[in-house]
Amino acid sequence: MLENGRISSRQIATLLFMAMISTSILFVPAFTVDKLGSDAWIALLLGTFLGLLTLLIANWLGQQHPQKTIFQYSQTILGSFFGKILAFMYVWNFLRVVAVVVREFGEFMTTAFMPNTPIFVFIASLLLLAALAAIAGIEVLARTSEFIILLVATSLVAIVILSLGNWELNQLLPMFTSDLLSILKTAATIEVWKADAILAAMLIPFMIRPQKALVAGAKATLAAGILITIGVIGALAIFGPYLLPSFRFPIHMYTRTINIGRILTRFEALLMVIWVAGVFVKTSVYLYFASLGLAQAAGLKEYKFLVLPLGVICATWSISLFENVAALEAMISNPYPESLLMYLGVPLFLMLITIIRNFLSGQQWRQKQP
């Protein structure tokens, strides 16, 4: 194996949680509220449950092919040629995720905190950190994220609790005015945001006890979903459905409203900690699996030397991918259809083929390990 590290079920939950929450907490509120008004949180809850779908499929595939990542079992399922193509597609997709995430990160940092700094400083430094962590391997990544989740979770809870005084819950009214179709549409968008669950398809083979993956992943998905929902409800309760979409980063503005006794104020620093730390985890996980996937698909013996070149590619890609923030936002609120394909369609397809093959060859499905 390219990687000998082993992670626990708590660590997989942490990694998934961090990947799901870090970017969506910043971008999701604006466009869901833009689309659905005060009903945004319904779509968020729905989307969270939809997000479990990806996890279920990824977990099922992982249990069927123990000790193998999706890059490897795609070759078992589809044959060497098509399997490799699929693996390369995933690598491409992950690199794209990295590029998009670091761009989002850079935009946020330059918009909210340091407008005079060139965006490339943030992109390059974050990718450097991510590359260092990716080179260090899955165990270090998992441990780092376990530490960071404490930081992020406590900061988020602190922000929500401290802002409770500013909530005006009647801003949430009227409820249920949106039609079901648009709610479902937005929920499908949210599903893409929750699609980080696809990481489970790569994390499961490194688990000490893979059979615990589903529960851990589900916990992470639900926790992330509920936390974001609370965030959106809070932002709605403070700004109302009309003011909120006009902010680029509602959570940032939301944090700025905290003012308790004129001392507990200005918590943006806390938000920056969450944001940097969370994005760092997400970027490094995706960069790590892009490198590992490339090495596995190409049959290399070492993935580490791929990390830095791929990081450089992501850095330049992130700049050239979008012309400006508006293009980035447009992409975020209307996620590209191929994402849905990659995160839901392809795993489903792999699952179907496995089932059909098992059925044709008359084999029983592999029992879950005791």
Binding site: F147, T265, K304, F305
Partner: protein, 551 residues
């Protein structure tokens, strides 16, 4: 091999099975064919090998009417001379051997007879050849050479001037035993043995150092310790090949997992109670001769935040103190950097009043905040370094110069702002509030790059530094245990122990992260037993106080 794997290979220590130690190699090079059981030749050989050093004493004895020739070899100053003459030499002298044995003693049975019947000394062993015997003699034993025998009788006569057991000076405590380790290994083992009187407490002696031949003792409890950890410790110590070991710090650097890391990966202690607690917890104690500092492995980062006194006072204060130490740790590491970042980049983050007073204080200061911070931090480090090694009387002068001139005058002269002095002072005090000195060294050093990062990239730079440190820490291991455990990779109960020192009756298990043979450390419900064990509840009345009712 690419650059990174090369760098990593530098950082992560890979010990190959080392070459055999020189001691053995020397033995192989100089085979004992030179050795001669004939006593006269042997004595010449000894003189040739040990030279004319004045402290080497050879006493020749003729026993049993010259039938058996003997020689005693020892080093003056390392042996108990009275014991040597009373218990070894005297019984061997012809005139004093009890008649029976005097007749029996002859060339054939001399060795066994002397060992078993004649010499009245408690600790006797045999060395197979001259080289071994000389090694033992150099360590303070006495050798008895018998003409015609290659084997040598060795008497454990080690005794020399030692420092008495004193209070551990680097780890003072208000409550707790006052005994600390000394420079003598044997005293240290006895101190530990007195605390853990269990048959499974093991002391395992190894030697390291080509020239110094320093004894290293592993102390552990056989049925608790993780055998794989123990094996790894043994392997790493056996692989040490160095000319001398004068302090356990040598061993620490030679056996730790990441020798290039800035963080200490092995805890050391002078306190016997702390060492005993570590052994009871399933860790391994590495005691080195000639130093009072014993090493504890495996070590995790959060051990450095615990003081032994936490375990003797009420649990609540330990809880509060540990939160304080965690806070202080962050202050010591991040406060100056954060201050520089906020003042330079994020003024809007401060509450207006605070911002105004800081801005007013910085009015007229010629330097940017980062220069101010580096200046003051460096000054403080200089003052501290100057004060550490000075005699106490001169030390006062330094503190006057430091406190008055640097602090007060620098502010009056408008060179630094009062706010910065407060920041530096708070950082310094925080640094002292962390119990482990070696852990604070890392914080002291890391503070400077963090200040620069804060000045270059603001708060983002500080977080950048934090994540960099975190990646490094997450990659560290100490003998198989992740350095950041139990915070990562630990059970919830282990995790709670970072902050909570639970009452003794609730500490039922040893840390899970050490993967010990026995996790259980005590019976459950001891607290309840106190309440319900006796037949009737003990109250003032049942104690027999006749006046209880009247109250």
């Amino acid at each position: 091999m690419n650059v990174f794997s090369f760098l990593r290979s530098l950082i992560s220590k890979k010990i190959k099975p080392g070459p055999p130690q020189l001691n053995n190699r020397a033995a192989a090079k100089k085979p004992d064919n030179q050795d001669d059981p004939v006593l006269e030749k042997r004595l010449e050989l000894i003189k040739a090998r040990l030279g004319e050093s004045s402290d080497i004493i050879i006493r020749e004895i003729c026993s049993s009417q010259d039938k058996v020739k003997l020689a005693v070899l020892f080093i003056d100053g390392l042996v108990d001379k009275k014991a040597v003459s009373d218990n070894i030499i005297q019984p061997l002298l012809s005139s004093t051997i009890v008649n029976d044995y005097a007749e029996k003693l002859n060339q054939e049975n001399a060795f066994a007879l002397i060992q078993k019947h004649i010499v009245s000394f408690a600790e006797v062993s045999t060395a197979p050849n001259l080289t071994q015997a000389i090694k033992m003699v150099l360590a303070g034993d006495t050798a008895l050479f018998i003409d015609g025998y290659e084997r040598v009788l060795i008497f454990g006569t080690r005794s020399w001037e030692k420092r008495a057991v004193g209070e551990p000076e680097t780890e003072a405590a208000v409550r707790g035993p006052r005994e600390g380790f000394t420079e003598t290994l044997r005293i240290n083992t006895s101190l530990l043995r007195r605390r853990i009187q269990h048959e499974n407490l093991r002391f395992e002696t190894m030697k390291a150092g080509r020239r110094t031949g320093t004894s290293i003792n592993l102390a552990y409890i056989k049925d608790i310790v993780n055998p794989h950890t123990l094996e790894e410790v043994r392997r790493r110590i056996a692989a040490i090949d160095i000319d001398g070991i004068l302090e356990s710090g040598y061993i620490e650097e030679l056996i730790e997992d990441a020798p290039l890391s800035i963080f200490p990966q092995i805890e050391h202690t002078e306190r016997v109670d702390k060492a005993a607690a570590a052994v009871l917890e399933g860790r391994i104690l590495i005691m080195t001769d000639n130093t009072p500092f014993a090493l504890i492995v495996p070590t995790t980062f959060f051990q450095f935040l615990a003081a032994s006194e936490d375990y003797y006072e009420r649990p609540y204060i330990a809880f509060a103190l540990r939160i304080l130490r965690l806070f202080v740790l962050n202050i010591a590491l991040f406060l100056p950097a954060t201050y520089v970042a906020v003042v330079t980049f994020h003024q809007e983050m401060l509450p207006t009043q605070l911002l105004l007073s800081i801005a007013a204080a910085r009015e007229g200061i010629p330097f940017p905040a980062v220069l101010e911070a580096l200046l003051m931090e460096t000054t403080f480090e200089v003052l501290r370094e100057a004060g550490v090694r000075l005699p106490k009387t001169v030390g006062q002068a330094v503190s006057i110069v430091g406190g008055l001139v640097i602090g007060d005058a620098a502010i009056r002269a408008g060179l630094v702002s009062p706010a910065m002095v407060i920041i530096v002072a708070a950082t310094a005090i925080s640094n002292f509030a962390i119990p482990a000195f070696n852990a604070t060294i890392a914080l002291r050093l890391l503070r400077f790059p963090l200040i620069i990062l804060g000045a270059v990239m603001g708060l983002y730079g500080v977080i950048f530094g934090l994540i960099l440190i975190l990646i490094h820490l997450a990659g560290l291991q100490s003998f198989g245990v992740p350095y950041l455990s139990p915070l990562v990779h630990g059970s919830v109960s282990d995790m709670a122990k970072i902050l909570v020192r639970s009452p003794w009756w609730a500490q039922i298990y040893r840390p899970k992260m050490l993967a010990l043979q026995q996790r259980r450390r005590q019976a459950t419900n001891q607290w309840l037993r106190n309440k319900t064990g006796s037949e009737r509840e003990l109250t003032h009345e049942t104690m027999g106080d006749k006046d209880a009712r009247k109250w």
